[in-house]
């Protein structure tokens, strides 16, 4: 194997092949878990069992899994309204997640948050966020904690292309740059902010070009290529951890499903969706593992089945769980 890769003009160490085989396979399983979790969630939406809305991560799995596996367990992440994938990749408990979506007392947030507010602060997941871009400055603040106190940690801040036009994107990247904070801003460019295509929202070709405004490192990568995401984030997490400052990584990807449950998708063509589905990050990674002899076809089926089983257990747990006691409604407002 080559020792270094050139990714978007950056010389990046090929760390992927230093991974334990079990972790290579675990990443595939996590991607499947996300895919099937979202599949079940969609079924619940169709059946009317999800009280609110959900934003599905289908098609973007390689970005969350590749990036989070390239960081360390102790590191922080912040997520988005399309947050199930990040939570699962960070090791989130599928049962507690599904219970939360169904508004159950056993959910991550005791039924008070729902899909857009799942968090697990103790494991470093600082939460999904219902406000587009709402977590960019929170992530930057966590990076300030890393700089001032928890000096061996870094932050992965996930956000979409839409969030890159929020004012706090500018405020945060600027502060991270002047203070040299250990944070990787991971822009999941899935081509649309709800219905608005990126070409209507940006007059630049690449969102990562905004790195110039802050004099920080940045690049655009294939967000549907797990190995590329892993190597890039691994490289830059070491860069951040060694005190070299923030990075802006744009991951090109695509959401297969509508923005939320009420999206008729009139703004894009079926052909376009089909074209992107052919770049399925899971099939690509699975094929890669098989072609490189990491995994046999039979083993791949087993990984998939394991993921299906985990989701089935989560669904049973969620369905069997009780709803919260209405008398708890005013609890947890204040510490």
């Amino acid at each position: 194997m080559k020792n270094f890769l050139i990714i978007d003009g950056h010389k990046i160490k090929d760390s992927y092949w230093e991974l334990e085989k079990s972790l290579m396979i675990e990443m595939l399983q996590k991607m499947y878990e996300i895919r099937f979790f979202e599949g079940e969630t969609e079924q619940f939406i169709i059946k009317g069992q999800i009280h609110g809305t959900c934003h599905l991560y289908v098609g973007e799995e390689a970005t969350a899994v590749g990036a989070i596996y390239a960081s360390e367990k102790k590191d922080y992440i912040t997520s988005t309204h399309r947050g199930h994938g990040h939570c699962i990749a960070k090791g989130g408990d599928l049962k507690l997640m599904m219970a939360e979506l169904l508004g159950k007392a056993t959910g991550y947030c005791k039924g008070k948050g729902g899909s857009m507010h799942i968090a697990d602060v103790t494991s470093g997941n600082l939460g999904a966020n219902g406000i587009v871009g709402g977590s960019i400055d929170i992530a930057t603040g966590a990076a300030l904690t890393c700089k001032m106190k928890e000096k061996d940690k870094i932050v992965l801040c996930f956000f979409g292309d839409g969030a890159a036009n929020r004012g706090n994107f500018h405020g945060s990247l600027n502060m991270a740059s002047i203070w040299n904070l250990p944070i990787i801003y991971i822009c999941e460019n899935n081509q649309y902010g709800m219905s608005t295509p990126i070409k209507e929202a940006f007059n630049i070709k690449r969102i990562s070009d905004r790195k110039c405004a802050y004099n920080i490192e940045g690049l655009t990568i294939d967000g549907n290529n797990l190995v590329e995401v892993y190597n890039t984030i691994k490289h830059f997490s070491e860069y951040c951890r060694s005190g070299k400052g923030p990075v802006l990584v744009e991951c090109l990807t695509y959401r297969w499903k509508g923005h939320s449950k009420s999206d008729a998708q009139v703004y894009r063509s079926k052909e376009e969706v089909k074209e992107w589905m052919e770049k399925d990050p899971i099939i690509r990674y699975e094929t890669f593992l098989i072609e490189n002899g990491v995994l046999s076809k039979q083993e791949a089926i087993e990984v998939k089945e394991k993921a299906i089983k985990a989701i089935e257990e989560a669904v049973s747990f969620a369905e069997d769980s009780p709803f919260p006691d209405p008398s708890t409604v005013e609890e947890d407002v204040y510490a």
Binding site: G113, I131, D137, E150, N168
Partner: protein
Amino acid sequence: MREITYLEAIREAMQQMMRINPDVYLIGEDVAEYGGAFGVSVGMLEEFGKERIRNTPISEDAVIGVATGSAVTGMRPIAEIMFSDFITIAMDEIANQAAKIRYMFGGKAKVPLVIRTAGGGGTGAAAQHSQSLEALIAHIPGLKVVMPSCPYDAKGLLIAAINDDNPVIFIEHKLLYKNKRYIQHVPEEIYEIPLGKGDIKRDGKDVTIVATSFMVKKCLEVSEQLKTDYAIDCEVIDPRTIRPLDIDLILESVKKTSRLICVEEACGFGGFMGEVAAQVAEYGFDYLDAPIIRITGRNCPVPYSLVLENEMIPNHERIKKGILDLLRKN
């Protein structure tokens, strides 16, 4: 006994807490060399250095977001927003993020954040640098809102705010900062005044006046005049924290006086004193011998011209007339 200003009391609270807790730091625009727009943090850079007296670019939204993120991960930031009017720039971070993180996450996070900001008018700074926006933030569950009216309270309340595990908006009044007329004995040691505990600033039996921030001073001065000129004995209550609200203290007073006047600098419409009036009407209606009166800022932006500003913000004459009208002494 030493007497210090309101500004000095606030600075001392920050200094003493920063000395004993390395997680406490100050972040905001021009807080370092300049010492903050009003000079509250003058001298703190020399003692604590640039890491902990952290100057920021002019990005109020990101300042509060960053402070929130650092609070969730274990720091105890004090974020200074130069003028309380500018909290509107950071309203997503305050209202949607800091206030709700704990609840949304099912009680599994805490946000020990203090936002210090200078509120109120009377300085000729006009509509964007003079507002009293406490009702806007006190409306949001998850936030605590503190409005000290004197140096002693300012120190004890700020220490309590820094030790609190919730986001606390600490609204200081510009006219109190350096005013030597309002200096007061403040203990040198660290002490807390619990958030949610009001104070009777003047005992009286004829009428209860509830006032906040600089209005407490005006009401106390008017009360002395009324005592001399009309033998009216006003009781002045300062809730000190408007959320949580010490409604019991107010109800106890109304039970004694049977009359309530609410005085606030903010525009009356939708204002905080509407909440006080509503709660007294709900829980203390039987104590009342007269309608509740509100004396508030007029329902317009704060104007520039001194003549207009004096008309907009409740002045001594307006407060006095309100009390006399209520007691039918005019």
